[in-house]
């Protein structure tokens, strides 16, 4: 009884003296989407899906330490536009859960935390810990866009007013098969160790960060070096660059004789994203970003890959999908350009439009959004169209047109 009274008194005093504090924000988001499969298939199919998200974000602080959590749960129901199969499932994931402790300048984090190491909007070669780099586009309306999933690790950071030094270590993670269902809500398997060192500093208004990433797998090691930098010029312009060089990277090339895919090693490929933003006024801003992928296919290999995928498609083989799966979207080409504009129509309505273009085969993605910002809620209408000729990168990765409406409540 006495210990309860003591604990309650401590809690009361801690809150009263602002030693203990809690901060959190929550939102519920409901999305309804209509998808149309492109003309490439024999029939024009439509499908509908609905997703209900609940996002939680909270931090609990006492003295110089805090526990931070980010999590979401979602229920997806409706048709899968790719497979035509009906589905209804509940998914939940803890995207971040970490404990922080620190003094005025030295900090430690342990747990699952999102590590952000770049500024590019479309694609950043220095987002070493992001499954989907960039922040302006997402793969589909069922994906979570509000929260970024973290990785499990330990971070030490020393921040002072001249520079910031940080060291992050993320270990190999193996999960027993019988526990996978439960544990994978928190983390996925990871068959490598990673260690990231970074140094950030500022020269007048120019920000600069340097990175060094070491990855150790069973079958070898890999090194990446990167830098990010940005500056604002005058009242209206900001410029940024994210660049990275790896000691090697693998590309995937089709072998038409054996109908298989071979790995080829590319040494020291450079990747870079460079962008500019121009603010016409407070509410209207234009962005342009160029992405160079040094490990992208050269012209002849690119054409061979498209021919191969076309043949595999016509034979109804799965290898076409395999090749596209190995690359992922916007990775096969060497040069990409993103143009984006965000505009305010009035106090309540915003409009944004974005185009991502593969500069070699001229395929791309166009996406536009209108947002209505009400009292405590936001309604978003989004349209998305992947375009390109039959034999183009986009047509092998995604062939969906999509319209969606989102309703979000914040509290």
């Amino acid at each position: 009884m006495r210990s309860r009274i003591l604990f309650t008194t401590f809690l009361f005093l801690a809150i009263r003296e602002n030693v203990l504090s809690f901060d959190g924000f929550y939102n519920i988001q409901s999305t309804a989407a209509a998808h149309k499969i492109s003309e490439k298939t024999d029939e024009n199919r439509f499908s509908l899906s609905q997703t209900l998200f609940a996002n939680h974000s909270a931090s609990f602080s006492i003295f110089n330490s805090s526990i931070n959590t980010n999590a979401f749960g979602k229920i997806i129901s409706g048709d899968n536009p790719e497979t035509e199969k009906s589905k209804s499932k509940f998914e939940s994931k803890i995207t971040e859960l970490y404990f922080s402790i620190g003094s005025d300048s030295l900090f430690f984090d342990i747990g699952k935390k999102h590590i952000k190491t770049g500024t590019a909007l479309f694609k950043s070669p220095t987002y070493y810990f992001d499954s989907v780099s960039g922040s302006t586009w997402k793969r589909d309306s069922n994906s979570e866009k509000k929260t970024k999933e973290g990785t499990i690790g330990l971070k030490a950071e020393w921040i002072n007013n001249i520079c910031t030094l940080s060291e992050y270590y993320s270990p190999r993670i193996t999960i027993n098969d019988d526990k996978k269902d439960n544990i994978e809500r928190f983390t996925s398997e990871q068959d490598f160790h990673r260690s990231l060192s970074s140094l950030s500093f500022r020269i007048k208004d120019l920000d600069m960060s340097l990175f060094f990433l070491y990855t150790k797998r069973n079958n070898g090691t890999k090194f990446n070096s990167g830098l990010t930098s940005n500056i604002s010029i005058g009242d209206s312009f900001t410029l940024y660059i994210d660049a990275s060089i790896a000691d090697h990277k693998y590309i995937y090339l089709p072998d038409e004789k054996t109908f298989s895919i071979e790995e080829d090693k590319v040494n020291n490929p450079i990747e870079a994203s460079s962008g500019i933003s121009y603010s016409i006024n407070e509410n209207n801003t234009l962005y342009a970003e160029y992405y160079y992928n040094g490990a992208g296919l050269n012209k002849s290999d690119y054409d061979d890959a498209l021919d191969f995928m076309d043949k595999m498609n016509s034979f109804n083989y799965g290898s076409a999908g395999l090749l596209s799966g190995k690359y992922g979207l916007f990775n096969m080409g060497k040069h990409y350009l993103m143009i984006r504009g965000t505009f305010s129509i009035n106090d309540s309505y915003d409009f944004s439009a974005m185009n991502i273009l593969n500069l070699y085969d001229k395929s791309g993605l166009f996406q536009s959004e209108i947002n209505y910002d009400g009292e405590g809620f936001i309604i978003t209408f989004m349209g998305r169209n992947y375009y390109g000729r039959d034999k183009s990168e986009i047509n092998y990765f995604s062939n969906i047109r999509e319209m969606s409406a989102e309703f979000e409540i914040y509290f």
Binding site: N18, S21, D23, F25, N27, N55, S57, S59, S61, S66, N70, S100, G102, D104, S105, F107, H114, K116, T119, S135, K145, K146, T147, K148, E157, I159, N160, N161, T164, S166, S200, R202, K204, D205, D207, N230, S232, G234, D235, S236, F237, T238, Y240, S277, S279, I280, N281, E282, T285, D347, D373, E375, G376, F377, I378, E408, Y410, F411
Partner: protein, 250 residues
Amino acid sequence: MKKYLSLLAFILSVHLNANDGNTILKDVDARIYTPNMAFEMDISAYKGNKLRDSNRIAGYSKDSEKSLVLLYFISPASLKGRKMLMEGNYIWMQMPRTKNAIRLSPMQILLGEASNGDVARTRFSADYNAIHDGSEIIESKKCERLILEVKPEKKGSTYSKIILRIGVGKLPVYAEFFAESGKMMKKVYYRSFSPYAGKMMQKKIEIFDAVNPENHTIMEYVKIGSKNLPLSHFTKEYLDRFQYTSFGGQ
């Protein structure tokens, strides 16, 4: 000879006016500037008489060579957790859910709520040189008129020029804020003051958009307290760790 004498007289008068202006400006700061402050303020934006936006923002300011401000959005719920670091033209914003830290151009906040926070925390004498430019009547009050030009070493400040009117007790009454391009951005009325820590605190400020005078904003401090955060907290890297703790202020 007459020409040289008049030129000398002109130079001397500018010099004397500048000395005079800088002395008045230091007196103004001595009356109103509170270093190392924690605050919460309500910011209400109006179009004509219609309230179009209302925010509560908390923040910390740091007394240093630079004008440093950390801001945290408390409400509305859709903006809660948004954080900003402002140091003149060096502006970073972090979104609460995606944790994306975005570098903003001064134009992107020039008329926004956060920029209004910057207006409220301007320490005039540290960033500007002043010339005393006579007196004038503002809203029936006799005021001294000061022309403030940003110091060469502070060229990155959001406002390159301010015309400030000082009333009774060396308290500001009205100011016009100009961007680097020379365009007038804001007209600011200092409506009321209240005593805090031996100084007079600007309690309520009304800001008119000079481009579109129909748009105006009322800022009112709801809490003021003393807080001296280390310099390392006013960095972009610290933004992710910045957690606002409510305080029992005045």
